[in-house]
């Protein structure tokens, strides 16, 4: 008997590729024999653009690398400039940044939960997750004037002091209750368990080989979190979420637990902010900003894995070369290995569980 296979183009216009990812699948029936991810449909030349712009001109663009987690890239870029110019942040500014980052992480994870369940065919969690995400976005809008592209962090500080802390407290009060609701409708659902348990197993070895970071790595049993060594998080009690079952279910559960962990982090920070007086730290003047010659590197724990940035400066008012490392890019590469041997509908679940965001991949 001859086995006939056929090629299937999954994307770039496909509802569950979360943007414009194109997967060239070779199928036998519904079984995937090989997978070839094709990226670049959303390439905006983010790295090249940096070479043509002054540091402050590039800052608003950085939020757009990952539109679901703009604060992280903003913070990463600011961090590098601050490092180069030896600017020391006050504790208050650091903690305000932590609040923003963690709220943004929650918003990003919430959206992922909704989108993942949509991939699995459940409608309601999508809207529930968006409802909670909306509270966070409303707060961001109130504070920064923007829902997604905040441009709130500036070199050496923040654009304006934090306000409306009671809004955050409200969010923190509602969120754990709603998370319990999600867990009741999703985590214990037998269909959900059958779709995710034991599917898309990402072993420690493979994860390390493919440079996977972030939640996906921690769901594979490796406790690696950049936040442990991050100077922003100094003095905060934080327990990294590590799960050992390595499957799609673990990746889902890890994100739920991460949201809970973020909630405790923000609570600690808010307690501190209430006790300290609002001493304003003046951001440095961005005009004629020149980085001294040399190369600078920074990394941060973004929702989709470790993000890092490398800047090479020759002493001009713009970088000579700038390079981003984003978590999703490595997850896309992982699809090559993870999808093979699975059936098409499991493949959608597995690809969804990795939390791939295409603007972050293509940059």
């Amino acid at each position: 008997m001859t086995i006939t296979t056929f090629k299937l183009n999954l994307g770039p216009q496909h509802p569950s590729t979360h943007g414009v990812l194109r997967l060239i699948l070779e199928l036998e029936g519904e079984k995937i024999l090989s997978c070839e991810p094709d990226v670049g449909y959303l390439h905006r030349g983010m790295e090249k653009m940096a070479e043509r712009m002054s540091y402050i001109q590039y800052l608003p663009l950085v939020d757009r690398i990952d539109y679901l987690a703009g604060f992280f890239y903003s913070e990463l870029y600011c961090r590098i400039v601050e490092k180069a110019l030896n600017i020391e942040l006050s504790q208050r500014v650091k903690f305000i940044r932590v609040i923003m980052l963690e709220l943004n992480r929650i918003a990003s994870h919430l959206l992922w939960i909704g989108a993942f369940l949509m991939d699995l065919g459940a409608i309601s969690p999508y809207f529930y997750a968006f409802r909670e995400r909306e509270m966070i976005l409303r707060y961001f809008e109130k504070l920064t004037g923007q829902r997604m592209m905040y441009n709130y962090f500036v070199f050496g500080g923040i654009r304006r002091d934090i306000g409306y802390i009671e809004d955050i407290e409200e969010i923190l009060k509602i969120l754990p209750v709603k998370l319990n609701d999600y867990e009741r409708i999703i985590t214990e659902n037998p269909i959900f368990i059958s779709r995710t348990k034991g599917k898309g197993i990402l072993t420690k070895y493979t994860a390390l080989n493919y440079s996977i970071t972030g939640v996906n790595l921690r769901a594979s049993g490796i406790s690696y979190d950049v936040r442990n060594t991050d100077y922003l998080y100094e003095g905060l009690k934080y327990k990294p979420v590590v799960l050992y079952s390595c499957d799609a279910w673990a990746r889902y559960k890890a994100r739920i637990l991460e949201i809970r962990e973020s909630v405790t982090l923000i609570k600690q920070v808010i307690e501190y902010l209430k006790s300290c007086s609002p001493t304003e730290q003046k951001p440095i003047s961005p005009l004629n900003l020149k980085l001294p010659e040399g190369n600078y590197y920074g990394e941060i724990e973004a929702p989709r894995g470790m993000a890092s940035c490398y800047v090479e400066s020759v002493g001009e008012d713009r970088p000579y070369r700038l390079k981003w490392r984003t978590g999703s890019y490595y997850s896309v590469n992982l699809l090559r290995k993870l999808l093979v041997g699975n059936y098409l509908n499991d493949a959608i679940a597995i690809a969804g569980s990795l939390d791939i965001i295409l603007p972050e991949v293509d940059k």
């Binding site: 056929f6 299937l8 496909h14 509802p15 569950s16 029936g29 519904e30 369940l117 949509m118 991939d119 699995l120 065919g121 459940a122 409608i123 309601s124 999508y126 809207f127 529930y128 409802r131 409708i185 659902n189 269909i191 959900f192 059958s194 779709r195 059936y343 098409l344 509908n345 499991d346 959608i348 679940a349």
Partner: protein
């Protein structure tokens, strides 16, 4: 049927209209009424589903066209009518156009054998149940035809899935139907309805001796209707709506409408088999209780019977929509496994139990 027939004939005889005319029109006129009613019911169903899904997911649903969004489906239907019918390159034109035509035929035929009230069934053969079994599986053929003719890999996969699904879910349905036939000693739907009559109203319904069968049947009907969680043939997050990917305009609308018409027919069928069909849940009919044995009551009772049947099926449809709002989709492999390894044995055990109840003197 007889009473209505004689009333109609007497009415025609008054005006000296030949009997042949009466014989023909007696079947045609009600069919036109049913066809019209079906269209209205489908429009209501589509609206109800969208409204209910909206409320389940914290939204309002359609609420712009007409008061409370009543005219939304009508507007959508007009829009689809006006849209261009696109026939993609490389399709089998004849089959591609035939599929949407064929899909409505079994739906209408199925509606023809349902006893709406004590005196009214279009085709009252002695083996209605078996006829229904055939007709309920029939739309899948046109789904397959559409998927096959579309010259689209996604459509073909959807068609493949739907065939596999129906083959595996028809068997449990058959066994449940057998148990109903055992209970009622009849293969006629009116006979089955009447066998459920008891003075205490709902106590005589077959759902009580045959509760396992009801659950099996309910699940199987969800699968046959391609409803969530068994909506694999048209999984929008995997197959981009599966078999009807390539259909547009009115052809798509026909698939869409027939889906809802079949939902309605199947829920009525379930109501007849397990919930006493057109029988009142209180034993006596309300019109008889209120108006005594008057002539008006004897007419009103027919409408009341239709009302009960529709109410019961509306209840079932509500549950089906509720399920859609709650559950994720099953994986195609699990779907087949579920049918062959759980539903089929359970339905056979149910048949044995029912036989024991009926002939073992337990009832």
């Amino acid at each position: 049927m007889n009473l209505l027939y004689f009333m109609y004939m007497e009415y025609l005889a008054k005006y000296n209209i030949p009997k042949l005319f009466g014989d023909i029109t007696f079947y045609i006129i009600p069919f036109c009424i049913i066809a019209l009613a079906l269209l209205i019911i489908v429009l209501i169903l589509v609206l109800a589903e969208r409204k209910l899904l909206g409320y389940f997911t914290q939204r309002k649903g359609p609420n712009r066209v007409g008061y409370w969004g009543i005219l939304q489906t009508l507007a959508d239907a007009i829009k689809l009518l006006c849209k261009e019918n696109i026939t993609p390159k490389g399709v089998d034109r004849f089959l591609f156009n035939l599929a949407p035509v064929l899909v409505f035929v079994p739906t209408f035929a199925a509606l023809g054998i349902i006893p709406y009230c004590a005196e009214f069934t279009f085709v009252n053969t002695s083996t209605n149940v078996i006829l229904y079994l055939i007709l309920a599986a029939f739309p899948i053929l046109s789904i397959f035809l559409g998927g096959w003719a579309s010259n689209n890999k996604y459509s073909l996969m959807g068609a493949m899935r739907s065939i596999a699904q129906v083959i595996s879910y028809e068997l449990p349905v058959t066994f449940v139907l057998l148990s109903i036939v055992v209970l009622s000693s009849s293969t006629n739907l009116t006979g089955i309805t009447l066998a459920q009559y008891s003075r205490a109203g709902f106590a005589g319904w077959f759902i009580f001796p045959c509760i396992i069968g009801f659950v099996v049947m309910f699940v199987s009907i969800l699968a046959e209707l391609n409803r969530c969680p068994f909506d694999l043939p048209e999984a929008e997050s995997e197959l981009i709506c599966g078999y009807n990917t390539e259909y547009s305009g009115m052809r798509f609308a026909i698939f869409y409408l027939s889906e809802y018409a079949m939902l309605f027919a199947n829920s009525m069928f379930l109501a007849i088999l397990f919930l006493g069909g057109y029988l009142s849940p209180f034993g006596g009919y309300i019109s008889h209780i209120l108006l005594g044995d008057s002539y008006l009551a004897s007419i009103l009772v027919y409408f009341e019977q239709v009302f009960w049947l529709f109410l019961k099926s509306a209840l079932l449809i509500f549950i089906i929509i509720w399920i859609r709002a709650t559950l994720p989709r099953l994986a195609s492999f699990d779907l087949l496994k579920f049918s062959w390894s759980i539903l089929l044995p359970v339905s056979i055990v149910n048949l044995l139990l029912v036989v024991l109840i009926k002939f073992g003197g337990l009832l």
